[in-house]
């Protein structure tokens, strides 16, 4: 990306933030909170997710066979099936159906697949097309695109909708409340549905055994769209087929809870069309026999069968489009689908859909908004590893890009990644090299980095936003400090403390504190000579570089593991890497060996205390009041509770944040084009930490990025919690205490 591309991207995002950010945040955060509440009541939640995933996996594996079975079932019921290769093919077929029917008006219930093929545009020349979902109708009137895959108009406030209606329809009395707007729309749309000839719906699921389709809705417009028209056309991607009616159960239980946080939506229509209801002719005021009804199922490939052959993108086809990965995403919560989305789809999984359907270029436009925080991973009802799909697509984008080599960065970072790699990605991906150089030349490197001239150069050449403080490299690294240092003789246990990049070069104090805390609990500590984890290159989509790091880290640590030493990790994003992504980077045995024996620092301390070590050796909390922000990836693994438990046990009085992510996410917040999103996300966190009763609490956070973000946005300092817990001189504790 050139400097001016970056600036215009930053401008675009800033515009969306300003125009739509508040409405999007209020809605998505409401859905997200609803999800937590609703799934908490569902006893078998985890089992249902696994069941749902297994059904989708099986269905996609057997897809050709299931499509045949579905086709036979629909035809036996009296319907017609058309399998369309692409959008043009599908649209041509629907146009034919509409022409045969001599239809003047087509009414539609909400369907993302019809948005994907741009069906409305294709039909517009032949007839009137009316969206009957209230949100879609608002967008049709406003000529805007959906900003969310389930609730398409969340970017519009009630006031904006009222203005739109009042201006367009000039009603006798100005419309104002949500109730008035809804009743007005209901009446207008009711008239349009009554004299429509063809009804178009999507389908959330199709069952091959019976030819039944499931439609998940709330308003009742899909019911009317089907009941009031004689000809029903359903458009659906081929991936919507599942084997049997019974297998709908986990999806029906999960889709509403995962998406908008409703236990179930008002209507789940299970239709085996043509439906058995009489036809309704509102003009002649007559009903007719159900036998007059006609049904067409248009099954659309449009890239899906190729995705099915693609080992990395295949999982995308499991997606049931519930929107959990949008609502749980801290970045999406700020910008919505107009910035975090492609031609049709939005949110985390959109990268997979858009890459498969539209191509890499479209996915590349917004893919960087996934920071890999993983907060969507546990929320996805079909257990898709959404961040991994984003990483893979980013890697493919990198490989496909042939930007010019940048002398500045190329000189800094000799690397085997493709020559055309974006210089910004190359810089952040090779942060290990930079950090080494930074420490070796500190404090000179820090002074240099801080001058106005070099900040301007950095912004221009690699897009590091100059409003961000840069990390200050320590001249003595953590490993240098630990080297040759005597540790506990005759210890209870032995650990290797992983010297992550940030602890080693920047946050050296938290490393020292971790050593002191572990030693106080009678644990001997070694700090091994191993390279960086590979988190930095992986974030930039540099999978091969990350793999080399992973192999080298495993080489360096597994000998210790074999010798009976436990691996302890301070940086949560590196601990998460060992637990999650290394599975994709290492062979299975090496991955398992390392994952099974590596622990997040507080998880380990908790284990020691639970197994009889005495907490007396650690600093006691004495009721000291703390505000704690755990790291996003730590929470996905469920290990943040150990920090909370240990702090609690030691007598600290802790309140915790409940935002999904701090918004910094490694390099993300440093990038010029994303600075504003990053700060908007961070402000949700700092709002919690400056609220009444919290504003005077000392701030602790586990992740490097979170600490960077908090330091930039809060007036008071923040520390890693180990620095409060380790036995130390009072002066070293959080200042101001």
């Amino acid at each position: 990306m050139t400097a001016s591309d970056r600036r215009s991207k930053a401008d675009r995002i800033r515009h969306v933030l300003e125009a739509e950010g508040d409405a999007v945040a209020a809605n998505t955060q409401g859905f997200n909170a609803g999800r937590y509440e609703s799934v908490a009541d569902l006893e078998a939640y985890e089992d249902l997710k696994s069941e749902a995933r297994a059904i989708k996996k099986d269905a996609i594996e057997r897809l050709p066979e299931l499509i045949d079975e579905l086709e036979a079932a629909v035809e036996a019921n009296g319907g017609t099936v058309y399998i369309a290769d692409d959008a043009a093919d599908a649209n041509a077929y629907v146009r034919e159906v509409v022409a045969d029917r001599d239809a003047d008006r087509v009414v539609k219930s909400k369907s993302m697949t019809s948005e994907e093929i741009e069906l409305n545009e294709a039909l517009a020349a032949d007839c009137d097309v009316v969206e009957t979902d209230l949100g879609e109708w608002v967008l049709q009137l406003a000529e805007e695109a959906p900003s969310h895959i389930v609730a398409p108009a969340i970017h519009k406030s009630r006031e904006a909708i009222a203005d739109l209606f009042n201006e367009r329809f000039d009603p006798d009395e100005e419309l104002e409340t949500a109730e008035e707007l809804t009743m007005f729309a209901r009446e207008k749309l009711g008239e349009q549905i009554a004299d429509a000839d063809v009804g178009v719906t999507g389908a959330n699921f199709l069952t091959a055994d019976s030819g039944t389709m499931a439609l998940v809705t709330s308003e009742g417009n899909a019911r009317k769209t089907v009941a009031a028209t004689d000809t029903h056309v359903a458009v659906a991607g081929v991936e919507k087929v599942i084997p049997s009616v019974e297998e709908l159960a986990p999806f029906v239980e999960l889709i509403g809870r995962s998406g908008t946080g409703q236990d179930i939506t008002s209507y789940v229509s299970l239709l085996t069309p043509p439906v058995d209801s009489p036809t309704l002719d509102f003009q002649s005021d007559e009903t007719g026999p159900a036998a007059d009804r006609d049904f067409h199922l248009v099954l659309i490939d449009n890239g899906r069968l190729a995705m099915r052959e693609d080992d990395q993108l295949r999982e995308t086809l499991y997606c049931i489009r519930c929107s959990a990965c949008s609502n749980s995403c801290a970045n999406f919560q700020q910008v919505g689908g107009h910035a975090f989305g492609g031609e049709t789809y939005s949110g985390g999984i959109a990268t997979g859909w858009e890459a498969g359907i539209e191509g890499l270029d479209t996915a590349a436009e917004f893919n960087d908004l996934c920071t890999g925080c993983t907060r969507c991973v546990n929320a996805c009802p079909v257990e898709i590893d959404i961040p991994w799909i984003n990483t893979v697509v980013r890697d493919r984008v990198n490989l496909g890009e042939d930007a010019e080599l940048d002398w500045l960065v190329d000189g800094l970072t000799p690397d085997e990644e493709p020559a055309g790699l974006d210089p910004q990605k190359r810089l952040f991906g090779n942060f290990a090299t930079l950090a080494k150089l930074g420490s070796a030349t500190a404090p000179l490197s820090n002074w240099l980095a801080d001058t106005g001239v070099s900040r301007r150069l950095m912004e221009r050449f690699v897009g590091i936003d100059r409003r961000r403080d840069l990390p200050a490299f320590a001249s003595e690294t953590f490993r240098q400090w630990a080297d040759g240092r005597p540790t506990v003789a005759d210890p209870e246990r032995e650990v290797v403390l992983f010297p992550d990049l940030y602890t080693n070069h920047v946050q050296v104090e938290r490393g020292k504190a971790a050593v002191r805390a572990l030693e106080a609990l009678d644990v001997a500590v070694r700090v091994p000579d191993v390279p960086a984890s590979g988190r930095a290159p992986l974030s930039q989509g540099m999978i091969e570089t990350a793999r080399r790091h992973a192999e080298a880290v495993a080489d360096g640590l597994l000998d210790h593991v074999e010798a009976g030493r436990d691996v302890v990790v301070i940086e949560p994003s590196d601990h998460a890497l060992f637990q999650r992504e290394y599975e994709r980077l290492l062979d299975a045995d090496r991955y398992r060996a390392l994952a099974d024996d590596s622990y997040e620092l507080f998880e380990y301390v908790y284990g020691l205390l639970a197994n009889g070590a005495s907490g007396d050796a650690l600093a006691s909390g004495d009721g000291r009041r703390l505000a704690y922000h755990s790291h996003c990836q730590q929470r996905t693994l469920g290990v943040e509770r150990y920090t909370e438990a240990v702090l609690d046990d030691l007598g600290f009085d802790v309140v915790t944040s409940d935002v999904e992510c701090c918004g910094m996410a490694g390099s993300f917040g440093y990038k010029q084009e994303y600075y504003d999103v990053s700060v908007a996300v961070g402000e949700e966190l700092t709002a919690q930490f400056t609220a009444d009763g919290v504003e005077d609490r000392a701030v602790v956070a586990s992740g490097t990025s979170c600490l960077d973000q908090l330091d930039d946005l809060l007036e008071r300092p923040s520390k890693h919690p180990i620095e409060l817990v380790a036995p130390t001189a009072r002066a070293e504790r959080v200042s101001g205490d």
């Binding site: 209230l134 030819g211 159960a249 209507y267």
Partner: protein, 169 residues
């Protein structure tokens, strides 16, 4: 098939959660129970014998304009789903689907014996039926609703209020 006490309790609790009011009655009490919650004009479809009969005031075989004018629609539900307080509404040649959809108030009559504990039990029953002779069912939970206009509003395109008449022998 009998439904045990706890399943029925769970069903009525969940009806409450979704703002669906209900009456428990016997087949003989059905006409009165319906009448008590019916505002006129009312349309509906004949109930299966085991569920009692419609009150005289409910007009069957409605024309499209009757549907539009009706304030109340009365239809039978084939199943109730206890975990969700859902009523499973069939589409029938005599027009159960439009009668349950167009009027502002829907009154659903369901046999206590047809209340199943959860979603899997409901779909197991429907699966056999759909495979044998097609068929349609709306799993309806609470009134129709939308949040698209900036706040939750009941009665988007479908009914604003729902009442269940649960029939015990």
């Amino acid at each position: 098939m009998t439904t045990d006490h706890t399943t029925l309790d769970r069903f009525t609790e969940r009806l409450d959660d979704f703002d669906v009011s209900h009456t428990l009655t016997t087949p003989d009490g059905v006409p009165d129970a319906i009448e008590a919650v019916t505002d006129l004009p009312a349309v509906g479809v004949e109930l299966p014998d085991s569920l009692g009969r419609l009150p005289e005031s409910v007009e069957t075989d409605p024309s499209p304009s009757d549907l539009e004018a009706a304030v109340t629609g009365v239809t039978a539900a084939t199943l109730g789903i206890a975990d969700y307080g859902s009523l499973v509404l069939p589409s029938t040649p005599d027009g159960a689907e439009p009668a349950s959809l167009y009027p502002d108030r829907h009154v659903a009559v369901v046999a206590a014996a047809d209340v199943v504990p959860g979603m899997s039990e409901a779909l197991a029953r429907l699966g056999d039926r759909f495979r044998a002779d097609g068929g349609d069912a709306i799993v309806a939970t609470g009134p129709s609703a939308t949040a698209d206009m900036g706040a939750l509003v009941k009665g988007a395109h479908g009914p604003k209020a729902v009442h269940a008449v649960v029939v015990r022998p």
